[in-house]
Amino acid sequence: MTFFDQACRIARTRREFLQDAASIAIGATAARSPFARAAALPKNRKVVVITFGGGARDQETFAPEGQENVPNMLRDLIPRATFFTQVVNRGILGHYVATASLATGAYETINNFASLPPENPTVFEYYRKDRKRPSSDTWVVAPSNGFNRIGESSHKSYGPGFGARVILPKHLLSAAMSSGHADYEHLLRDNYESPYFTPDLAGNEFELQQLESLLKLSVDDFKTNARTLSSPDELSVYIARRLMKQVAPSLLWITMHDIDIAHAGTYSLYVEGIRRTDRLCSEIWKAIENEPEYAGNTTILILPDFGRDADTDPGGNGFQHHRTGDALSRTTWLIAMGPGIREGVVHDRAVDSLDLVPTIGSMLGFSASHSPGKPITEIL
């Protein structure tokens, strides 16, 4: 069986499940006039991207046996979304480099573990330069400290001055907690492949004092709230909601990372991470619906950065890693919902993960000129 045979089989499994579970239609048989959709689009459109990370397999999410882990998305999002069953990532399957590839629309080849900017222009740079938007209009919220360079590329035509603001909530929390005497460096350890490694930070990250000025949040209140949250992704969503309320960026990118605990080899913690991320995705959509700046004019795009190795691939160790490059580790899904996007529709044609940035470009009115990806017309 070839890679693409396997990918197609995976996609069919997802679609059969979704049709059974949520009574949704097949995209190809339920077309609607693009003129009607265009007329319905709001002028002040916003986009929120969530990477359902790091690395979740089909069988723990939308395959029949995985449905118990994603009840919130299944109940609250899927019936109102267009769902793509087959998003193929042909790049390097490391979380930073893969997320950077999603954000640039080009397969990046930077060292996954180094503090380096992407080499191709990011979606934030395209948007800000083409639409002359201020830095406050594009934000990245990333629980993993290794993602601090993702907002701005090293590309000579873009780069410094055009990137997104980056917020690393866990880094902020560590800084806030360490203002006393205790050492909270352990909070920054998020590389589950090497659990004691803490990356050095360098770049355009958000400083502690800006909590007060931008987010209207005192350090004490931040610490108090953090004490009620069980994971870095929960902290990220808390900060993202605060950003939406106080700053209301047009392009907000949230990377989740709790699921990557799978590298520790503990299946229960991996599944727990998926369930938490499922709940948080639903909470973000509810926040969008309840925020006046976002309600009715926001498109949300949710996709894993990639999958994880198949149980049956002898080169891997199942869910634990994403090292084999097999079909299951490369094939994921995409949920798209918002104004103008058809509800309860499934498409099983292959979409490339590089198509995300050109699609956002078509939504927000910029050209992703350095991306080889193609806009996903079904959601435009």
């Binding site: 890679f3 046996e65 042909r90 390097i92 399957l93 490391g94 397969y107 080849t109 573990f113 180094a114 929390l173 907690m177 205790a182 909270y184 352990h186 909070l187 590389n191 589950y192 492949e193 090497s194 659990p195 004691y196 490694f197 803490t198 990356p199 610490k223 953090a226 004490r227 009620t228 949250l229 069980s230 994971s231 870095p232 929960e234 902290l235 605990i261 590298h263 520790a264 080899g265 503990t266 299946y267 229960s268 913690l269 599944v271 727990e272 149980d311 049956t312 002898p314 080169g315 160790n317 199942g318 869910f319 634990q320 890693h321 090292r323 084999t324 490059g325």
Partner: protein
């Protein structure tokens, strides 16, 4: 350097038996592509510390490569020959550090989008090798045993969901003396076929009394080594410029003597240290250690019997506890460990079924101290359930 430039003296740092193996086959090694040879050397450099099954497989593979005519060899390895390497890779000391080379080759394959081509080449080569050198079937059909759920009083969710379709599920197993019966069965098999490293008992906690003929390792017994590894990791991470890849390379070089592991069996000592230095999460979580140890024992030693008993791992502290004072001693998480072990038992079975003689192999998984078990074997009907009263000896009698 290219393989064609190899000279015998370059292998002076190899352990004695490894050096003998490599230098005796240098002529054929010089003909192999750079994308392939370090993979063979990575195995060969550890020859002195390998299990008998691994030694035999490596010897047969090298003998087969030597037996091929130049045109046949070229055909077998054409996929590897098409992989382009880099001058950086060529300048690495791949003779003395083949594992580091393979790791960097992997990164190169990802970066240059050659990973799929490499996979195809590797699969093609493995298929040819299996056809030319059929793997050795065990003298007795293999038996795998997984004991899960230690410390869990009650659990109302279904267990063994992934294993049940492949065998029979029993819901009324008498739990009394169940573990003893499994250990006795393992010991009896060890007395029947006495080949070294053929019968294993892996415990995720502290080992219980067992027959000396059984090869045994336990997470609990390795606590001093785990403490030393974590201390070394902390210390290395403080060094400027240290990153995950460098740390992994460094850890791969740690030897039993570096970590205070010393017994009368250097092969087993090396195996245990590898579990802790190369496995991910094995230093911290007992369930990860146990599953990885079983996987590596199956892959490397190809045992005829493998009894694996999972134990509760430490609980992962949620973030809010990490930022609050108190509770220094890690608690255990029996329920999470049961879920881990349920999946681990499935992986043990999958890994066992990858070995020769899979069609005759048997597998038994049991919820320790409870009534649920699943049995898989050639004579056991698939996807069936039984609520008839039974005990461990009877379950074993159906697959042995």
């Amino acid at each position: 350097m290219q393989p064609g430039d190899l000279k015998p003296e370059q292998f002076n740092a190899y352990p004695p038996q490894a050096k003998g193996l490599v230098t005796a086959n240098l002529a054929v090694f010089r003909e192999l592509p750079l994308s392939f040879l370090p993979g063979v050397l990575r195995e060969a450099i550890d020859y002195d510390y390998k299990f008998p099954a691994e030694r035999r497989a490596l010897e047969q593979e090298i003998a087969n490569l030597a037996k091929l005519s130049p045109s046949e060899r070229s055909q077998w390895l054409q996929g590897f020959a098409k992989i382009s390497t880099s001058s950086k890779l060529e300048h690495l000391d791949w003779v003395n550090s083949p594992a580091q080379f393979v790791e960097q080759l992997s990164a190169h394959l990802w970066t240059t989008h050659q990973l799929d081509a490499f996979r195809i080449a590797a699969t093609d080569y493995a298929d040819r090798l299996h056809a030319a050198v059929p793997p050795q079937v065990p003298k007795v059909p293999r038996l795998g045993i997984a004991v899960i759920g230690q410390g869990v009083d009650s659990y109302d969710k279904p267990l063994f969901r992934k294993l049940r379709p492949h065998g029979a599920y029993f819901s009324r197993v008498t739990p009394e003396n169940g573990l003893r019966a499994l250990l006795d069965a393992t010991a009896a098999r060890a007395k029947e076929t006495t080949t070294q490293y053929s019968h294993w008992y892996i415990d995720g906690g502290n080992p219980i009394e067992h027959d000396a003929a059984i090869t045994s390792i336990a997470y609990g017994s390795l606590e001093p080594a785990r403490t030393a590894i974590l201390r070394n990791m902390h210390s290395e991470i403080e060094r400027p410029g240290m990153g995950p890849e460098m740390l992994r390379t460094l850890m791969a070089g740690w030897r039993p003597e570096d970590l205070g592991v010393k017994s009368t069996d250097p092969v087993l000592d090396r195996f245990q240290v590898r579990l802790l230095t190369e496995g991910s999460g094995t230093q911290i979580f007992s369930t990860s250690f146990t599953q990885w140890a079983a996987r590596e024992a199956l892959r490397r030693a190809e045992p005829a019997t493998l009894l694996v008993r999972f134990a509760p791992r430490q609980r992962l502290k949620p973030m809010n506890e990490l930022i609050s004072p108190g509770g220094e001693r890690p608690e255990l998480d029996p329920f999470g460990s049961l879920v881990d072990a349920d999946m681990g038992a499935y992986y043990n079975w999958l890994n066992q079924q990858r070995l020769p003689g899979a069609d005759k192999s048997a597998f038994l998984a049991w919820f320790e101290g409870h009534n649920a078990a699943v049995v898989i074997g050639p004579s056991v009907p698939r996807g069936t359930e039984s609520n008839a009263p039974t005990d461990m000896k009877q379950l074993l009698s159906w697959v042995l």
